[in-house]
């Protein structure tokens, strides 16, 4: 498997796949971090201070999604076709509802626009060609650098009938953290959505009772967001002070 396929991109012609060309592309992608060894001051003599690490722009896979060499991916095109047809039946254009599709590491992720989430999951559950009966819940991820899409909600769906699984990813900006609730389609998401609200502050509109579930009711803030500190105090042992984990040297 080439590195392109691992990243969910299609196989490129050889001239576009040369290291020099790939390097040029990498220089165009956004900078993920600078420096190394956690050194931020001028005292850095490692020479790594000016290091810049680029991160590829958001991926989007092209058809075909199925790779004949990878048995895990064989049903991906079938699911995408069935979803496209099924959405057309209820009058929702596929391209409007689905922002992009990513195939990576043998898993398929549909990035769904939040306005169409309930339509998409109802079709996924009810269409006989799809039949994703089991939702494995939702959880959040906070990407502070992903401007206007800071909060992501990730859903894993499983079809027992066809023995398939897919992932849905829905995003919302931090300024307007609203995503429609899918409890009406998958009742199991009741607690999962409460947990995601509790930890990330995503408001699931239409949830029957969106209250905190793990943290106390009067808690301020949403602890698993990246801007929420881990907390902790320095610990002294035999004269040496060990800082709390989030203040220790980071190699990231």
């Amino acid at each position: 498997m080439t590195s392109n396929e691992q990243q969910g991109k299609p196989n490129l012609p050889e001239k576009d796949n040369l290291p020099a060309e790939l390097g040029r592309q990498r220089l165009n992608s956004p900078i993920a971090r600078t420096g190394m060894f956690g050194a931020k001051t001028t005292g850095d003599t490692s020479g790594y201070g000016r290091l810049r690490v680029y991160r590829p722009a958001p991926l989007a896979s092209e058809r075909p999604y199925s790779n004949p060499d990878d048995p895990r991916t064989l049903y991906f095109d079938e699911v995408a076709d069935a979803l496209e047809r099924s959405l057309k039946e209820v009058g929702t254009p596929y391209d409007t509802a689905i922002k992009r599709v990513v195939v990576d590491r043998g898993e398929i992720t549909f990035h769904v626009r939040r306005e169409h989430l309930v339509d998409v999951v109802s079709r996924l559950r009810d269409d006989p060609a799809l039949r994703f009966e089991l939702c494995l819940g939702v959880n959040g991820v906070h990407y502070p650098d992903d401007t206007d899409n800071e909060l992501h909600a990730v859903y894993e769906l499983r079809s027992i009938t066809h023995n398939r699984e897919i992932r849905l990813e829905v995003t919302c900006p931090d300024a307007d953290p609203h995503i429609p609730s899918i409890v009406s389609v998958y009742p199991t998401n009741d607690w999962h959505e409460r947990e995601t609200w509790d930890f990330f502050g995503i408001v699931f509109d239409g949830h029957p009772a969106l209250t905190r579930i793990q943290m106390p009711d009067d808690w301020h803030g949403h602890p698993q967001r990246k801007d929420y500190p881990l907390g902790g105090i320095p610990v002294e042992y035999r004269g040496a002070k060990v800082p709390p984990p989030d203040e220790r040297r980071s190699y990231a």
């Binding site: 991160r55 959880n139 199991t188 602890p223 990231a252």
Partner: protein, 434 residues
């Protein structure tokens, strides 16, 4: 705010005589009972808020969060390898499943799933199946205790002790092992393990038979469990309930068969099902699963071939294995000789130091891995930003999801059946709250 139309009597404190007097005056017909979070039959710190009319439960609500420890958040500040030390403490009755599912997700992110040594996979399967036996025995033991059958409790914990002895021998600890690591397992099996597992395989069927004699046709047990806490396949799927509860409702859904991992496709075993969809059916499924686990463990012993137990990739697997010293743990003499001996390798020392302190980097992306834990589908969703620490790890714990079924199982039944219903879900609050 609306004014209450009923008379409320708060019995949570104050002078008891006043409470009794007020209750007699108002004659309330509805009673809201707080069961837990400190209650011997709630499996730890589960809080049940029951609305009762006489003995009948009209509303059952569940309060959780009393054991939330922020494991997912804490892991974002530790290396990928250190993560195993955290996840093993989530559902403390199924530590090896937590570790394995986490490592499977990390390995998927690293793209090394196919390069895990065969011996490591066999050891993982063997340890998981032993763990399944231990977990199911605790489920039945606590269940017996909650119904007042202390013999079941002592027997169940005695049988579990045999498994824990093996765990202690292999990992050094009875629980919280941190034994399964990304790339393989931490240590090879110590000498004598196979003999000890064979002892268990010889002894366990007898113990199981004793347990079955006590329970299978016990009229009191049947009366407490038959047709209690009914939940059919439709209800299970709507509520996301998996594991023995789903199989006791008649759907033979088992990830070991449906989506094999760690080489489960190479083992012969059956998926026990029942069609009772009640507490008794769940008990029968768990019992049968223990028998199937014994079959798998036996096949594991036959498959154990000498070989490495950690991936042969110097960038992931630690270069040295600890050896036994006078204090029970010690350095690896061969590795020290490699560093310090004639023509010693400073680079080897640096490499070892960097790998342990800084950890390995994982290519950016996200992955979801799942295993069939004794309670149902245990999933791990991991996101990497390319650094040596997880960007986000989330666990889909089966106990968390299954507990949502309490209302569906209990409402309309009696208070006594609530105990049986919760026990048949077998929740572990360490996993529910994480």
């Amino acid at each position: 705010m609306t004014t209450p139309t009923e008379t409320y009597v708060d019995a949570s404190g104050g002078d008891w005589d006043e409470v009794v007097a007020a209750a007699q005056k108002g004659q309330p017909d509805r009673l809201v009972v707080n069961m837990g979070p400190q209650h011997p039959s709630t499996h730890g710190v589960l809080r049940l808020i029951l609305t009762l009319e006489g003995e009948t439960v009209t509303e059952a609500r569940v309060g959780i969060g009393y054991l939330h420890t922020g494991i997912e958040k804490n892991m974002e500040y530790r290396t990928w390898t250190q993560g195993t030390t955290f996840v093993t403490r989530m559902d403390y009755l199924t530590p090896l499943f937590n570790e394995t599912v986490y490592c499977l997700a990390v390995e998927k992110l690293l793209g090394i799933t196919d390069r895990i040594p065969e011996r490591a996979n066999v050891i993982r399967v063997m340890m998981m199946e032993l763990n399944r036996i231990a977990s199911h025995f605790v489920a039945m033991a606590t269940f017996g205790m909650e119904l007042g059958a202390t013999t079941i409790m002592t027997n169940g914990f005695r049988e579990r002790e045999m498994v824990l002895d093996i765990f202690e021998m292999v990992t050094g600890l009875r629980m919280n092992h941190a034994y399964v690591r990304p790339g393989g397992v931490a240590q090879d099996l110590p000498p004598g393990t196979v003999g000890k597992v064979r002892e268990l395989l010889a002894e366990m069927p007898k113990r199981l038979k004793d347990m079955r004699k006590l329970l299978d046709a016990n009229p009191i047990y049947l009366a407490r469990t038959r047709d209690v806490a009914y939940l059919d396949v439709t209800g299970c799927l709507a509520l996301g309930v998996t594991g023995p509860i789903l199989r006791a409702a008649g759907l033979p859904w088992d990830l070991r068969k449906a989506k094999p991992y760690c080489g489960y496709e190479n083992y012969e075993f059956d998926v026990p099902v029942s069609d009772g969809a009640d507490v008794y059916a769940r008990y029968r499924v768990r019992m049968a699963e223990i028998e199937e686990s014994l079959k798998i463990i036996e096949q594991c012993l036959d498959k154990l071939q000498p070989g490495p137990v950690m991936i042969e990739d110097a960038k992931i697997g630690w270069p040295a294995q600890l050896a036994l010293g006078p204090d029970g743990m010690g350095n690896a003499p061969s590795h020290i000789a490699h560093i310090m001996g004639r023509g010693g390798s400073m680079e080897a020392l640096i490499h070892h130091f960097k790998l342990v302190t800084e950890g390995f980097r994982v290519p950016p992306g996200q992955a979801y891995a799942m295993v069939e834990s004794p309670k149902g589908e245990l999933g791990c969703y991991a996101v990497s930003d390319g650094g040596p620490r997880p960007y986000r790890v989330h666990f889909r714990d089966p106990s968390f999801t299954n507990l949502q079924a309490v209302a569906a199982m209990c409402e309309g039944g009696t208070v006594a059946d609530v105990i049986a219903a919760v026990a048949s879900i077998d929740p572990v609050m360490g996993g529910v709250d994480r």
